[in-house]
């Protein structure tokens, strides 16, 4: 005779209805989040649309000259109206300046940042690391105008001296050549200031990535007898490569669009200047700020068009970098 220990229920509760249809709250949630997520698309689209709308007349009258030309001359008649066929708006000089300054910045900043990130993750004691991370994050929070003033008053004299050294010993490289020895307020100085500005960004991105290096691989490397450097070379660098590229990209984007620091440090001269040590140059952003103050309606339209070009340029740079990040990310893991 078998005895059941559990008394059978008289009336079992009705089984819960199983469904894959999301609840109402979830549908609302997904709707809200999706619309919020699409905001970046909307904003970027609006930026493109409005800058194009405002700059269209200038872009149409100047054509390709707007990108390839390097003359900026607003010709007006006696009444102050713009004479359209004599007026020239070309931003090539400033485009070249933008690229030069930001490349100098990235070339200087990336090694320093990667080394500091490696030091913080694999060499520093936990307490030192915590403190240093806070200090570097703090530096990322410093406003660009501070870097501008500091660059102008403090950094410029030393960087001029480094520029002279570069010119003296590496003068055979075309970039470092110069006919007139004017080292003050050169794109090189601006590049160094920009490098200082983007070091914290690149460092913190690289550090985050390196700190996610799988611990088992790190331990495995040590267990196989690797020195710290051998471990970094075999495990951390391959793992973190894509993140470093991502950080460098972030820095490049910020350097290209940087306005105030460049405006403060650089001697903005409207001419094509490939020689980074010569004290003349500019970038698109600082040019917009410089010319905006006393610009009439026609020139403001041209500045809007310049803003559009800058916007598209940073967009393209980001896309290329994004592509690289995706590819290296796959091979790195």
């Amino acid at each position: 005779m078998s005895q059941t220990l559990v008394e059978p229920m008289k009336s079992p509760p009705p089984p819960r209805e199983l469904t894959s249809v999301p609840r109402f709250s979830d549908r609302v949630f997904r709707g809200v989040v999706t619309s919020g997520g699409l905001s970046s698309l909307v904003i970027l689209g609006l930026i493109f649309a409005f800058l194009t709308y405002q700059g269209f007349s200038v872009l149409r009258s100047q054509g390709f000259y707007f990108i390839t030309g390097s003359e900026w001359a607003l010709i007006t008649d006696d009444a102050g109206n713009m004479i359209a066929d004599q007026t020239k708006f070309g931003i090539a000089a400033m485009l070249i300046g933008t690229i030069l300054c930001s490349l100098v910045a990235v070339v200087i900043a990336v090694p320093i940042s990667v080394f500091s990130a490696l030091f913080l993750n694999f060499y520093a004691s936990p307490r030192l690391k915590k403190f240093m991370v806070a200090v570097i994050d703090l530096m990322a929070a410093f406003p660009s105008i501070l870097f501008g003033l500091w660059g102008f008053f403090v950094l410029m004299p030393s960087v001029e001296y480094w520029g002279k050294l570069l010119h003296k010993y590496l003068g055979f490289i075309p970039f470092f050549k110069m006919e007139v020895p004017v080292f003050t307020r050169s794109p090189f100085v601006a590049g160094v200031v920009l490098a200082v500005m983007i070091i914290p960004i690149i460092t913190s991105v690289a550090r985050e990535i390196f700190s996610q290096t799988p611990l088992d691989r790190v331990q495995a490397a040590y267990a196989l007898g690797a020195t710290r450097w051998a471990m970094i070379k075999a495990v951390a660098l391959p793992y973190g490569r894509s993140g470093v590229v991502g950080g460098a990209m972030l820095g490049l984007g910020r350097a290209m669009g940087e306005t105030v620091a460049v405006y403060t440090v650089l001697n903005i001269v409207y001419q094509v200047n490939w020689h980074i040590l010569v004290g003349a140059g500019g970038n698109v952003a600082s040019m917009i700020l410089l010319k905006f103050g006393d610009a009439g309606p026609a020139e403001i339209k041209a500045l809007m068009a310049a803003g559009l070009v800058l916007f598209l340029l940073t967009l393209i740079v980001n896309s290329i970098a994004n592509f690289i990040v995706k590819r290296t990310g796959k091979s790195g893991r």
């Binding site: 999301p22 609840r23 949630f29 997904r30 999706t34 919020g36 997520g37 699409l38 905001s39 970046s40 698309l41 904003i43 970027l44 930026i47 409005f50 800058l51 320093i112 990667v114 080394f115 490696l118 030091f119 060499y123 240093m132 200090v135 570097i136 703090l138 530096m139 929070a141 410093f142 406003p143 660009s144 105008i145 501070l146 870097f147 500091w150 008053f153 950094l155 001296y161 070091i199 460092t203 020195t227 710290r228 450097w229 051998a230 972030l250 984007g253 669009g257 306005t259 105030v260 403060t264 952003a285 700020l289 809007m304 800058l310 916007f311 940073t314 967009l315 740079v317 980001n318 896309s319």
Partner: protein
Amino acid sequence: MSTPTAIKPQKPWLATPKERAINAATIVGSAIATYGLVAITPLKGKLAYFALYFIIYIAADFFIHLASRGISAGKDAIARGVVTLGLVVALLPILSILVTVFNRGRGGLHWGLLTHDMKMNSVNDPINQGGLLHALTGTSILVLIALVISLPIGILTALYLTEIKGRFAGPIRFLVQAMSGVPSIVAGLFILSAIVYPLTKAYSGFVGSLALSILMIPTIARTSEEVLLLIPNDLREAGVALGGTQWRTVAMVVLPAARTGLVTAVILGIARVAGETAPIVLLTGGGETVNANPFSGPMGSLPFYIWKSFAVGSAESVTRAWAGIFVLIVIVLILFVTARFLSERKTSR
């Protein structure tokens, strides 16, 4: 019977006194060698000392390790030296900046800064007249409005990328990344072309905040996304397995777990825009008096004040600019320390 002797615990990974002595000798020795080299060769200046010291130190360290433990230890020594050098170089600017701001800004500080605006004064007046009140109120209002606009949008974007992972997640991630590359001046021009010229036709604080929020959204979204991605998937699965809807799981499990990181995201967002100058110069008009209404009239702000004072270029105005920067830095520092403190408390619990 001999009592068993307690074995003294050993720590073979720590440096022995001999190794420590060698290390100290290397540091001191290369300092002396640097001094000697700078004295006898035409090299001069702080840069020469700095560079030579590190070169000599790394070389000495390399040879010592090479001699004692072979080539891989030598390489390791080089790597350690170079990596340390990287951090030192990265930290030099911040030291220099803090020292400069303190030294130059000190002269322009007085309590009147916090209670006066520049209504009755020009930037060329003696330092002890006028103040920053209009700039402080202006900056707080600008940043607050920008934060109110960008925080929900930024976090929603991050949630879309990490929780919903919808069809557009790839493109949206790409666009947010692209948006973080939007130069501040372009944000200013956009608001100018989309809102100021067609609609308001006047400077105001609100349009400045709009431009700032364009810069703030990607910072908050990217940082929050990174944080949310670090939340282990087990937590989400646990939430759903307990019968929670996705909404409940995100609101009660994922977001609280990521709270520290979200605070960091907000702080980074504020820091990104608090000192942003270019759009402010284009949009807010930079008034000299306290203006608490963001929708009408020019609104002063710290970056604009610094910018304008620096541009004038007289001794008094440059001191004013440094004093303004001093105040801005103190604000950033306070924000920063607060955020650190909050996140420390959260993690230690």
